[in-house]
Symmetry: C2
Subunit: 146 residues, 2 copies
């Protein structure tokens, strides 16, 4: 069983769980996100998806991305103003936004750090998620991630 099949299965499963259908468009959009994890915008996804599915429309790309976010298969990320970016990394992670290259790197977050971060909240605050965004420069050549 190929990894593509695994992904497709995972996708159909999640969609089915939400009472939604698996469609070629949704599959290709998801595959595109998994294949190049550089936090693409909807436009960039659109461009990549057209290779495999030349007649897809931008509106559909937006719809599919929205659907994937609903199903918790993809995270939508907004650093500063500008187009929303999409990220198929589901593990808890922060983002490092390199001001020089414009690229965004995923930074794994250990569970105990998340705990400490949550502990700064006064009683009465019940977080459902935390997002951590670094900005700065990455010197030398660290592993690239869009």
């Amino acid at each position: 069983m190929s990894s593509a099949t695994l992904n497709t299965d995972a996708l159909s499963q999640r969609l089915a769980d939400s009472g939604l259908r698996s469609t070629p468009q949704r599959e290709v959009v998801y595959d595109v996100l998994l294949k190049k994890r550089d936090h693409p915008t909807a436009d960039e996804v659109f461009a990549r998806v057209k290779n495999g599915l030349p007649t897809i429309s931008l509106a559909t790309v937006y719809n599919c991305l929205e659907t994937l976010v609903q199903c918790n298969l993809v995270r939508a990320v907004n650093f500063e103003r500008g187009p929303t970016r999409y990220c198929p990394n589901l593990l808890p992670h922060a983002h490092f936004h390199d001001e020089k290259t414009g690229k965004t790197h995923d930074i794994d977050l250990p569970a105990d750090l998340l705990e400490k971060v949550n502990s700064v909240l006064p009683p009465g605050y019940n977080p459902s998620s935390v997002e951590i965004i670094f900005r700065g420069k990455a010197t030398g050549e660290v592993a690239s991630s869009g």
Copy 2:
């Protein structure tokens, strides 16, 4: 010396440091931000500023906000898609975005937590700033802040 005078002085000072002029528009925009710290959008700032300066234009509000951000007197904040919000709190702090009320609360961040957060970065990453955003519900009545 009134607090408004203090603010105005601080503002002129910072502007002068950057070779910029203090103008009525810039002063009023800054005062508006200081007076009601509910993370307003540019449109909301525009509406408030018009009370004191009825002929100001939206473009100028955008210009002034941009200037204040440049001078490090104000932070621009973007939770998810939607208009940028502005925050005159210069101390290191996180934001808690209440999904029920839509309001945003400032959460003070102790220095040692920032250190720990920074320490998750692998060598080669040099952050110039960190942003932490919580989402969730604030139960009971915690101090309100926009």
